[in-house]
């Protein structure tokens, strides 16, 4: 027990000695969360709209106004003919182009159905598709304003996030990702550095067992992770005002097995790599990028080909993102989230066992 305490103190001292690491540890999560929390939004607003009004009547102007007065569109230009669209769409200064055909007012008065033309920039699919569906919403409201009604209407009822604010969904994901990156990066460097500097031999001649070296390396970084959660959570709750519907205790309880996984992965990398550069490569490419892309943080898992959906089950961040979103938005507790907790615990134990095995091999 005393030897364990010694190695803990040594690790903490080493952390403290590097003057640049502390600001990174404590400022970076807050700064990142603030910036990225704002950036990660799929709420497309103010889509750049180019307009070509070939009718030039009060009726056609009303239609154009229906677009520009909604918060979804922002008119960037009015061109005299459709040829004018090319330059604006090519350069990406406009994402949607609206053409009101000549004879629009006449057709409307005569009660003939009219088609207006919409061109969407498909190279920016997010703005393009959403812009197109907003435009159809605007047209539908115009039609309803004329007394047009479908015989059967669809009444949507949105649960958990009624205003469909993407920030409420993304910010917990960003939090999970930052926590993972920080803890994993630090631990992955921990053992390799000793090997590279040559102090590993010295550690090994001490009466420490490999197990206690591993624990001694893990605990300080677990503390760092806990402090990071502590500094980042207030940003989520009070700055972004993401509602915490569920219980704080469940959040903390289920963060523990996740950290077990990330710290374990860091250690595993440490035992696989020979140099710090290799450790950096392995943890970035083999462990971090799959977590970011395959966890459902940005890209929904259900859209992936089946084989990738299977792979996601081996990704701890997948479960933690589900946990965070469940606790924050849905207000669910352990009765719903226990499979996620169990999965992370299982993965964590397997990862740590692998790391210990590799560590012994390296020694032998």
């Amino acid at each position: 027990m005393r030897t364990l305490a010694n190695i803990l103190v040594k690790e903490l001292l080493q952390l403290k000695r590097d003057p640049k690491i502390l600001p990174i540890l404590f400022m970076a999560p807050v700064v990142q969360l603030t910036i990225l929390g704002y950036a990660a939004t799929t709420d497309v607003r103010r889509v750049e709209l180019a307009v070509c009004d070939l009718d030039r009547t009060p009726a056609s102007r009303d239609l154009v106004d229906a677009f520009t007065t909604s918060t979804y569109f922002r008119r960037v230009v009015t061109v005299p003919s459709q040829d004018g669209f090319d330059a604006w769409l090519d350069s990406g200064r406009a994402r949607i182009a609206l053409t009101v055909p000549a004879g629009y007012a006449a057709d409307r008065t005569a009660g003939r159905p009219v088609e207006v033309q919409l061109i969407a920039d498909g190279s920016d699919a997010m703005s393009g598709t959403l812009g197109l569906s907003y435009a159809q919403g605007v047209l539908q409201r115009v039609a309803e304003g004329q007394g047009f009604r479908l015989p059967v209407e669809l009444r949507p009822k949105v649960l958990y996030n009624p205003d469909l604010v993407s920030r409420n969904y993304m910010v917990p994901g960003v939090l999970a990702m930052i926590l993972m990156i920080m803890t994993m990066m630090l631990t992955s460097m921990a053992l390799v550095r000793e090997t590279e500097i040559g102090t590993m031999e010295q550690l090994l001649v001490t009466p420490l067992t490999p197990g206690s070296i591993i624990v001694g390396k893990l605990v300080p970084y677990a503390l760092v992770g806990a402090v990071e959660i502590g500094t980042a959570l207030p940003v989520v709750l009070f700055w972004f005002r993401v509602p915490l519907e569920g219980s704080f205790a469940v959040l903390v309880l289920l963060t523990a097995p996740f950290m077990l996984c990330t710290l374990g992965l860091g250690l595993l990398v440490s035992t696989l790599a020979r140099t710090q550069q290799q450790a950096m490569m392995i943890s970035t490419f083999v462990f971090m990028m799959p977590q970011i892309y395959l966890s459902g943080f940005v890209f929904p898992i259900q859209n992936m080909p089946q084989i990738f959906q299977w792979i996601t089950y081996a990704i701890p961040l997948r479960y933690y993102v589900t946990v965070l979103r469940g606790v924050f938005l849905k207000g669910v507790g352990l009765e719903t989230l226990w499979p996620q907790g169990l999965a992370m615990l299982g993965l964590g134990v397997v990862i740590l066992a692998l790391a210990r095995l590799r560590f012994r091999q390296r020694l032998g």
């Binding site: 750049e48 015989p151 992936m304």
Partner: protein, 367 residues
């Protein structure tokens, strides 16, 4: 001067050759990453898990439900009698949406009274929810007139046309961004450790004893990685074209120019970090944090820059991937020339010059 730069380059290449794992990683990783994520990532929502509560149980209600299931977007995961069971299904995520049809549907339709059906949505993923709602509206708009056997045409409708990516395949939009993301990470990581490693191992002293100028040292250290990065970039862009059907409508020459400019910027950023950090651990942290997340979130790769708050739009101007992704899409998908993207290219050049300049100043000072 050129001789001295080349001497450093050769030294660095020799070191790189000896560390063949790193070399293979730098060359192979971009291609492997693209191969994996190009297939995995998509915004095309499919297999929406739908729970159905049919209290009407009539031919009309069944026709509506069938319309949902036959659209190809929805799969039925549960048929319930009661809405009370919906909570559990939506809470656990086993269902994403629920269609609730009230008992009065058939009577309303027969009496030609306006009626409605309800769609309950899991809104936590707002984007998927909007997409699902869009699909559902289309299905109802198409099916409702059939129930009444009437022809209904709205007074104003849209004839949508999509340019550059007619089927709105998300891979065509995502793959160029993915290429930029992968190249940025690889190039920053490649050089972030380059200078700091010499510091940590104490070989900086020996370099200092040579007649090398700071500037020559940095250029010499960057060149080999520019070479390696270009090969990796060519591989990934080729793969994007071959495997993911991303068209290259513009000129390959311009594509190469833009790619080299972007790589130089990323490598320069890595070098700058290397001169700022004292240990490889710090360099790694700074490199990753400053490249991975900004390139993912602030570059327009996934999240449209125009939707961000004004302050962030300003910040996004120092993310080089922003310019590369915009110009990559313009050259590959739109096939336009420098008259459209010259300012992006200029921004990449400015970025590269500024970071290399800062790195030189830092190195001179520490020497």
């Amino acid at each position: 001067m050129i001789r001295r730069v080349l001497a450093v380059t050769v030294k660095e290449l020799l070191q790189l050759k000896r560390d063949w794992r790193t070399l293979i990683a730098l060359l192979g990783m971009p291609v492997v990453m693209l191969l994996i994520y190009g297939f995995a990532l998509s915004f095309d929502v499919q297999d929406i898990r739908l729970a159905v509560v049919d209290r009407s149980r009539t031919a009309e209600s069944r026709e509506l439900i069938q319309a949902f299931l036959q659209s190809g977007y929805f799969i039925r995961v549960a048929s319930l009698d009661d809405t009370r069971e919906l909570d559990g299904l939506l809470d656990s995520g086993r269902a994403q949406a629920a269609l609730v049809i009230d008992a009065g549907l058939a009577a309303d339709v027969a009496a030609r009274r306006p009626t409605s059906i309800q769609l309950v949505l899991d809104g936590s993923d707002s984007q998927t929810a909007s997409t699902i709602l869009g699909y559902a509206r289309q299905i109802v708009a198409a099916t409702a007139p059939e129930l009444l056997d009437v022809e209904l045409e709205p007074p104003v409708a849209a004839a949508p046309v999509v340019w550059y990516n007619p089927n709105l395949e998300s891979s065509i939009f995502l793959v160029p961004g993915l290429v930029a993301f992968i190249l940025m990470i690889t190039s920053v990581i490649a050089t972030a450790l380059a200078v700091v490693r010499e510091k940590e191992r104490g070989t900086m002293e020996s370099l200092r004893a040579t007649p090398l100028r700071a500037f020559e040292l940095l250029i010499g250290k960057t060149l080999p990685y520019l070479l390696v990065g270009s090969v990796a970039a060519a591989g990934s862009l080729g793969l994007a074209w071959l495997l993911f059907d991303v068209p290259i409508r513009g000129s390959i020459l311009w594509l190469a120019v833009l790619t080299v400019l972007f790589l130089a910027g990323g490598l320069g950023w890595g070098v700058l970090i290397s001169t700022l950090a004292d240990t490889q651990q710090v360099a790694f942290q700074m490199g990753l944090l400053s490249s991975m997340l900004p390139t993912l979130l602030l570059s327009g790769f996934v999240f449209p820059i125009s939707s961000m708050p004004a302050a962030l739009q300003v910040i996004s101007h120092i993310v080089p991937a922003r310019y590369f992704i915009a110009s990559l899409r313009e050259v590959m998908l739109k096939g336009v020339g420098p008259e459209v993207w010259w300012n992006d290219a200029l921004a990449l050049i400015v970025f590269g010059v500024v970071v290399m300049g800062l790195a030189t100043v830092r190195t001179v000072r520490s020497l």
